[in-house]
Symmetry: C2
Subunit: 472 residues, 2 copies
């Protein structure tokens, strides 16, 4: 099985017999086993009751066919593809794009991209960045995929309104309509309302799938298919990963083991930080996607009984070998407050030879005859051993290669791990009540009806004390 | 003064009278004042003794002239500029490029870039990414700026040897020599040795400036000048910031106040995480540069007396408004283990109007008539107030706009803050002993002479226990 595995979750680096007292013991896990079994049951129940839909996404052949047809149409008609979406409506798209397309995709000549559109995921409303986007796309040849489950997200709506007006000015209202695709809830919401009114093509987001679990819905699939990613292989990988979640025995279920080990490292060993360090440049944005998944799902004030718990590990993004020259000093010598999740890759597509040259120069001579691949893997293995010797817990998720199948499996496994972890913390991993307060103040400031009290509260907030502002 | 300030460091959001018991009291700072005074003195002493050189970098007119001449030559001769460098030899370059050049610089038509070269900072040796770089540059028209103080960095040396061979194959040994510029120590080191042998143009890195403090040396200046950044204005901003470090009274010295406040939040209030959240897409990579500066300088096992202290706040990168849809749930409701440093910008270059449309759609109607700028700033202000109400400490570094002057001031201020913080922790902020172990294992694995014992140790390390690897 290991031979054909899409990923191997390697926990060797977290146990006391390898790293000393900062690790966990097998007995700790054994003690947690009944709770892991219960967590597994509860997640299965949520799934079978239809309350969480993400496990069931890899099997929707009809959707795949619909996405492929629309994608082919987009490739025929357009030179640029822009996702209007933020957070869960962009991070999965970006992760797939970085992982599975050419590392300099947009800079390639059009032909070498298979005449596919350039891809843009602004994922922000910084006015200078949005304005600059217009310098590198031709609006007449651009399609905008507005992704929002409800349409209620201010950033998406504002960007849409702005760009729609530009298109109308350029092409007239009728033609402008042909430049939008709406990915949204099929039953309700303001994006659905607008899309119906305007006659935009629509792709569905299932009601029981939240943004951070939506990468295998049309949210992630359309941009992937447009840019040439094999979405069937991606979903196949996710489906294969699903099989590995069947056992309720954590020793056979990688996502369940991952949830248990992180829970123990966090709650019993004080690792309030989880570094996701990708030893593959392609996988670096998986870490950003994971940051949302882990932080927004598990960062909660209340448990299911309504008690204040203020839980949540802080996920951080890191890249190997790059961050050996930035963060590794802290990881090796700083406080014992973190666990590192490595993403590693056995085989790269390219092998780059280091020629023998300058044999008399000490720092050049030993490299000649090796490959850059060997150097990369040597540094990774060296870091793993050094971290273990320094008593720092490391989990490693090892992929044989970066392919649509392995990436599909990786993302699905991390989603399942997050769901199981939510049960261990006994919190609701599928809501995000903590962002409401900020949203409501913003609505108040902008004068949205119904938020007048928030506007008043904002205006009454204490003004800055100038003695506490120091200038340079 | 505030009116003309290049930055305003706003500490309103860290005090108990605003955020409650998770904040610090003015009295805490007053109590720390003598130690802040001492820290200020010690840093001044290190500077006057010539042990740390970064404060003195903005005044080297000769270097600026030399860089400008070389940059003009590069722009005339080449279409592509690649930095071979990692960590401190890349992060400052990337931060300046993102902040001060067009957000889609490389994708612009050459003319709209002022016929300047495309800019590449691989900052990694991932074989697939390096190989892919060759698809978007024409080697014949590419210059490689190999940046390394010693030349000893394996990643830089390996990339250099690989690309040099490619150039020799393509152009012959003689012509290939014209495609390198070495930025390195002028007195010693293997890069200096190679550059002299090969006849590469050389730019200096002062002996008393470490990688993470080197952005204002030729390390950061050449790529900046090549891409059209006004390096004189950048250095002017840094020089102006320097003036604000003269007072030993923390109430008048922003970097000293910043050091003291972060030190207190970390050591007295348990904030072992510092989020740098940039409410400006341009400044997002300043956070990556800061991650190295803060982590590598302050993440230390030993204090100056050689005692085990295992200190160091973990810096994380975050982007506003993007991460409101990813991390904000955790920041609002999770553990009280973090302080957020906001980077904010008063004025953007562009103002984007949101037209009135779909007035009957609730989530669209209220936006019409506003600008995207207003929305962006409303969300920022709303988040600040919500975080304060939730008892979360926030510092804000506010720039009037993103310009070479303000960015120069910002980076210099953060460097000074880091130096002062090192004194408060009583650690050496200018070394990085914790990365040696991993480097030595890598040398051992690759067979470098002198590291045979590390090779043996590596080979003797316990093999993975297969029962602790779970597949999907």
């Amino acid at each position: 099985m290991a031979k054909d595995a899409l990923l191997r979750y390697d926990f060797n680096g977290v146990f006391t017999d390898r790293i000393g007292e900062e690790g966990i013991k097998i007995e700790d896990l054994e003690e947690l086993a009944p709770r892991l079994k219960t967590a597994h049951e509860r997640v299965n129940l949520l799934r079978s009751e239809g309350k969480i839909g993400f496990f069931d996404l890899p099997y929707d052949d009809e959707l795949v066919a619909q996405v492929e047809i629309l994608a082919a149409d987009v490739v025929r008609k357009f030179d640029h593809f822009v996702v209007i979406g933020i957070g869960g409506s962009a991070l999965g798209n970006i992760a797939l794009h970085s992982a599975l397309n050419h590392p300099y995709y947009n800079e390639l000549p059009r032909k070498e991209r298979g005449k596919r559109p350039t891809m843009h995921f602004p994922d922000n409303i910084d006015p200078d960045r949005l304005a600059a986007l217009l310098d590198v796309i031709d609006l007449k040849k651009t399609v905008f995929n507005f992704i929002s489950k409800s349409g209620d997200t201010a950033e998406g709506m504002a960007t849409f309104l702005w760009v729609r007006q530009l298109l109308i000015k350029k092409l007239g209202a009728k033609k402008a309509r042909g430049h939008f695709i709406a990915t949204t809830d099929t039953e309700r919401g303001s994006l659905r309302e607008i899309a119906l009114k305007e006659g935009y093509p629509m792709l569905p987001i299932p009601a029981n799938v939240g943004g951070r679990f939506s990468v295998f819905t049309a949210v992630g699939l359309l941009s992937a298919a447009v840019s040439g990613i094999d979405i069937r292989a991606l979903l196949h990988g996710a489906a294969l990963a699903n099989r590995s979640f069947a056992p309720s025995d954590y020793r056979k279920n990688p996502a369940l083991a991952g949830a248990g080990i992180h829970y123990l490292l966090h709650t019993r060993r004080g690792k309030n930080i989880q570094i996701m360090m990708s030893y593959s440049h392609r996988l670096k944005d998986v870490a950003d996607w994971f940051r949302q998944l882990w932080a927004e799902s598990l960062g909660k004030q209340k448990d299911r009984q309504g008690r204040d718990v203020f839980v949540g590990q802080t996920p951080c993004k890191s890249v190997g070998v790059t961050d050996q020259h930035s963060q590794m000093q802290l990881y090796m010598e700083g406080p014992f407050d973190k666990v590192i999740t490595l993403l590693t890759v056995d085989e790269f597509e390219n092998e780059l030879k280091i020629p023998k040259a300058f044999p008399s120069v000490d720092s050049a001579g030993y490299l000649g005859g090796h490959t850059i691949n060997e150097l990369f893997h040597a540094e990774q293995a060296a870091s793993e051993l050094a971290l273990a010797q320094k008593g720092r817990p490391v989990c490693a998720i090892r992929l044989p290669a970066v392919t649509p199948e392995t990436v599909g499996a990786l993302l699905m496994m991390l989603e399942a791990q997050t769901a199981y972890a939510g049960e261990l913390y006994d919190i609701n991993a599928f809501d995000q009540p903590g962002v409401e307060l900020g949203k409501h103040f913003a609505y108040g400031i902008l004068g949205r009806t119904g938020f007048e009290d928030k506007a008043r509260e904002f205006n009454k907030a204490p003004k800055p004390d100038k003695s506490r502002i120091i200038c340079a």
